[in-house]
Symmetry: C2
């Protein structure tokens, strides 16, 4: 098992986009799910798509400690451009909503120690009907680089299978030619159904740094569950596709929005960490409940996501509406998560051993609960764990190998004291 | 319209169970949804079905201000009895979990200024397989009365259509004969599909104080939505069935449990108030987030629920995944609620006038937002309201008639100051 993983990593490494970026999954904030195409600044001065919104979120990322735990990108989505290119054929931001221009916004974001992402589309128009980059890849890539943009989300509206095959690689090449390191996020596979043979993940890895495999997330637990199920059901395709520099993207974190409970927020966050997913929140950082903020800033969970191996977790158990995943980590450690889609009132027990999750390499592991921040004790790989999972909740722990010598020392020590 | 309502109220009054109880919808706490049949006190000493749980909740109802806003019942559900009747053929509580007996628990609850509810079934066994009252209606009613029980939820497992027709009225009669005022909650219509011709709401009104029309609620927003849709779809049957002394029961409030967000909690609570529903929370009162508690203790929303007219709200608008209900209140006032099942990220606008909700009686109404606690201004009944509703959220207000003289005075006053 371990040998297989190492081989897959090597294969991935050799083929992935070699711009040196996002060796661990990118983290930040992205406007779309929460703010959509709200351009009504008269009625929603704080929430419309404009420079004030992105500056406000940049301020929050710093002042509320998000940057310190790893969230570094502030990403614009659709509806930012003017309706016309400028006299030189360049994209420009809507002059009412981005009066200082995108370059000034990038400077502001950089001054905060953060990075700026922007959005365009491989067709003639964006999904929201704004001017897009199809046919203008070179000038737009140069414009983004000149502005100091650090990431591009490249959508696929107003395109077809044939045009996408040309235009996604083309924009990737133009971004590379600018010489500026720009993370390239491709919506391409989501437009092809996300699976081979229509999606060639080997090719995608050579072109993009991350890619949206599946539909847009909505503010809905049902949608979170649907995404997690799809990831589990298609893991034999998805796991080998991902690794340092190239990531499967199940879309944004919606914790802190309107519809997820605290438990559901933990579940999405924990599972996105298990899946080595990009962690882009889309919420109003100024309106988060303290307990939601605590969840989304959990350093132990983030460490699982940011593990240097970059291996996507695998589902080993799906029974009684509970699913159990494990994710190999550096230095022989593993992360384990059991999440529930049950609705029957009380925590539900699930029993499994580390062996059931193909966790091996040591005979004993020390387990640490990542949301409860407590040691669960040490277990042999054959020993049965009896885990209770809340309805729609998650139980998540880190398993660290214990050498036989260490166990002996520990036991002697316990005997002495 | 007003005339129709008055007539319906009179009809209802004449036919409803005349034990003088629950002239407004009952409020309290009920164990089932959150605690189910958890009898594992070794592993869950605080959460298993036993006297400690109910005493803990009684304590909380008092110490945390719930009693002061109207929550007065502490209700036991399934799995409380011993597996055998006693030597005199009487029900007894499980001796391990209710070591002091139900009478002592009733005394404790009463000493707190609260009331105790209990649970049985019209079949031989409860849904959880415990001893039930079918065939022992007289002795069990007398036992409940002797214990000082104030309410009985009477379930319908291990029964059939024929036996229910006999046993539900029979237990009602036996309760009445005890001379103790005991609120009688019948699950009967839920077992018949909730609709005529199988359910005769006129008869039900003469027998029961409240009745479960539909399936058990689960810890799930989808289930809350399903219930609200069923209530709206069948309102022409349900509205005339309900009124002082006899209530349609859409089942427990699940705010504070595992799966509802704050907005979803507001929506369920606000809509249960609009539907003149019994308000029984099923949650762990010692683990509620402060903002959830604030919602469930909102006095303005509770006042809508407890309005003396006891008229169930009616749905007038269902479009774009937003539904708008209005509920006639005493003194010519109305409550209005618009809730959303949308998941598209941002608040969504809906436009309607008070006329669209058949609100009449005055030309102008003053509107007060019940969750935001703010005045929205005065509107003519023809004027268009432009309401924004959060995804899965609710906007709810009280409309108070303004006489033309008052408007004149107000306007003069506004001119002067």
């Amino acid at each position: 098992m371990r040998v297989t993983i190492v081989v897959l990593l090597l294969v991935h490494y050799a083929l992935s986009l070699n711009n040196g970026l996002v060796r661990t999954p990118p983290m930040g904030w992205l406007a779309w799910e929460r703010y959509r195409c709200n351009t009504n600044c008269a009625q929603f001065p704080d929430d419309c798509i404009g420079e004030k919104l992105f500056m406000r979120m940049a301020d929050r990322l710093v002042s509320d400690g998000w940057r310190d735990v790893g969230y570094e990108y502030v990403n614009i989505d659709d509806c930012w451009p003017s309706r016309e290119r400028d006299a030189n054929g360049r994209l420009v931001g809507n002059s009412t909503r981005f009066p200082s221009g995108i370059k000034a916004l990038a400077d502001y974001v950089h001054s905060k120690g953060l990075k700026l992402g922007i959005y365009s589309d491989c067709g003639k128009l964006t999904c929201g009907g704004y001017i897009a980059s199809g046919g203008n890849e070179k000038i737009d890539a140069e414009t983004f680089a000149a502005w100091g943009v650090d990431m591009l989300k490249y959508d696929g509206c107003y395109s077809n299978e044939t045009s996408r095959k040309v235009n996604y690689p083309l924009m990737g090449a133009e971004l590379n030619k600018t010489g500026r390191p720009i993370v390239y996020s491709c919506s391409w596979p989501a437009y092809e159904g996300g699976l081979p043979p229509k999606v060639n993940y080997t090719e995608l890895n050579a072109i993009c740094n991350l890619w949206r495999n599946y539909g847009d997330i909505q503010d809905s637990w049902d949608d979170v569950v649907d995404i997690m199920n799809w990831w589990g059901d298609n893991q034999d395709v998805l796991i080998p596709a991902a690794g340092p520099g190239g990531w499967n993207d199940p879309d944004m974190l919606i914790g802190g929005d309107y519809t997820l409970s605290l438990d559901q927020t933990k579940t999405q966050f924990g599972m996105w960490a298990m899946l080595a997913a990009p962690l882009f929140m889309s919420n109003d950082l100024s309106k988060l409940e303290p307990d939601i903020k605590t969840v989304l800033q959990n350093r132990d969970v983030i460490a699982v996501n940011q593990d240097v191996l970059g291996v996507q977790g695998r589902r080993f158990i799906k029974q009684d509406s509970i699913q159990v995943f494990s994710k190999p980590l550096d230095k022989g450690e593993f992360a384990v998560a059991a999440f529930s889609t049950r609705t029957d009132g009380t925590p539900h027990a699930i029993k499994f051993s580390l062996n059931d999750l193909k966790i091996s390499g040591a005979k004993f592991y020390s387990l640490f609960d990542l949301f409860e921040s407590k040691h669960l004790g040490k277990y042999s790989t054959a020993e049965e764990l009896d885990i209770y999972v809340d309805p729609n909740g998650i139980s998540m722990f880190r398993a660290s190998p214990i050498s036989v010598e260490n166990i002996f020392v520990e036991e002697v020590f316990e005997t002495i004291i």
